[in-house]
Symmetry: C2
Subunit: 283 residues, 2 copies
């Protein structure tokens, strides 16, 4: 089955887009592992119409609204997106296909700030793995998304170390891959990364792949070759379409005010643009 | 007293802007006669976070939120806005001054569709009254806004007839002004208005001033010389500022999707731009 639209993200932007698309007569699918940043918000008092609510409560309300409209929602982690005539979303469990995609999966809170400004830091194994094929690299992360990146690098690079940066390893990885469970103290290098220090030991590396947390809009964008601005936000046109035909984005992923109000407004506008796009292409 | 900002309108765009400005540390004043189009909406089911609510209930919630933040709200009808170093808002009762204005008073639902396409139709007595100074004109309307326009025309034009288009006259006007209480059947003319037919009688006119209902964003914009697009929506830049320095607009007034989601998103963004503007100019 090929969906009209798959919306990645179930926060205010994603759910609003889903509600509008459904009401426009389309059949959207929502895929998201969790509610993202909103999940950690204790109190919201600046959203029109709701005097006071917690982030988790508001997320729950939104999901309830979408379910009341029979919008299918799948709780899986999107690890990668590819395109060959149609878009294919690869999750930790399945693959899903769609004519159009809306990335509404928040801002990139999983950038590796400890290595800010250094060359040799990559956020996409598929894009950059090849450059390190005879080199020694670090892969930073501890969950499904890290395992996905490892499966890509594994075929290209022989010398890989995984750094969980103090977090427990949540996935199984091949036994011969060394895993450093200590918190990362420093990332060394003048202009380019030369070593990672963790638990008092310095590990020399030629490069470093970052796969912390979930794949964000930013990391999915990197994998697809979507244009990003200098703040790592996805660049969209006036119809919320990225530089890739049929791939849209709205909400925190595209930067600007990181606010529920803005996300909701953009969700509605983006859905309208996607609806026009679907009709124009007879999908 | 000169306010930082006066927001005209207490719908989703205006109240969201007020909430954001207050939380940014400014002192906004909200002036509106009523809640506009939302007041007549029976059921809203596509606004994120609220499964189902009526228009009046949502308006009430928003006003309650603003009042909880001690945002002053004045229930008067804005009839005109002028600028001489600061902005002055003329209501049916008072005058208020501000460094900046946000027009969030909805779309122009008071256009006079019966005369669509004909020349000789004006929406601003101050702008166009002079052109008709020895002519015979009709003034269409029945409330304070009509009376305001009449007070302007009255000094310039001797031969004025008021048409209420079937509505009761709600204001006192000079006795010598003829008032036609019948519904308007036709507006005649080839390219330019020549007569208005009401209650079976054809009244010859050289021009017609429209002042139906409240002064909308559109009519206030006409008075101020704000640039409008071909759909009579206010044109704003990326910071929601019109072609007049310090005068902003958001929500239905600027066109696009006439949706609460969009109005709320724009209210937040517009308030952020106004806050930056106020800080930049040390207001």
């Amino acid at each position: 089955m090929i969906y009209d639209t798959i919306i990645v993200g179930k926060g205010p932007a994603g759910i609003t887009a889903a509600i509008y698309l459904k009401r426009y007569g389309h059949h959207p699918l929502v895929i998201a592992k969790d509610g993202g940043a909103l999940q950690r918000v204790k109190e919201i008092e600046n959203y029109y119409g709701i005097p006071s609510i917690t982030g988790p409560e508001l997320l729950e309300q939104g999901i309830h609204q979408a379910k009341a409209l029979d919008i299918p929602m799948i709780e899986e982690e999107v690890l990668d997106i590819s395109y060959e005539g149609v878009y294919t979303l690869h999750t930790n469990k399945n693959q899903y296909q769609a004519q159009t995609i809306i990335l509404a999966c928040g801002t990139s809170r999983n950038l590796f700030y400890k290595a800010r400004g250094l060359d040799g830091i990559s956020y996409c194994a598929t894009c950059d793995g090849f450059f390190y094929r005879k080199k020694k690299v670090a892969l930073i992360g501890n969950g499904s998304y890290m395992a996905h990146e490892l499966s890509v690098l594994h075929h290209i690079i022989k010398d890989i170390m995984v750094f969980t940066d103090g977090l427990p390893l949540e996935v199984e990885i091949p036994e011969h891959i060394p895993v450093i469970l200590d918190k990362i103290d420093h990332v060394h290098g003048e202009t380019r990364i030369t070593s990672i220090e963790a638990g008092g030991i310095q590990h020399e590396v030629d490069g470093c792949f970052v796969a912390i947390g979930n794949a964000s809009g930013f990391t999915l964008a990197k994998h697809l070759g979507i244009a990003l601005d200098n703040k790592n936000c996805i660049i969209v046109d006036e119809n919320f379409m990225t530089n890739l035909e049929g791939l849209f984005s709205c909400g925190d992923s595209i930067g600007g005010l990181l606010q529920i109000s803005k996300a909701v407004g953009e969700g509605a506008k983006c859905a309208t643009a996607v609806s026009n796009y679907l009709k124009k292409h007879n999908f």
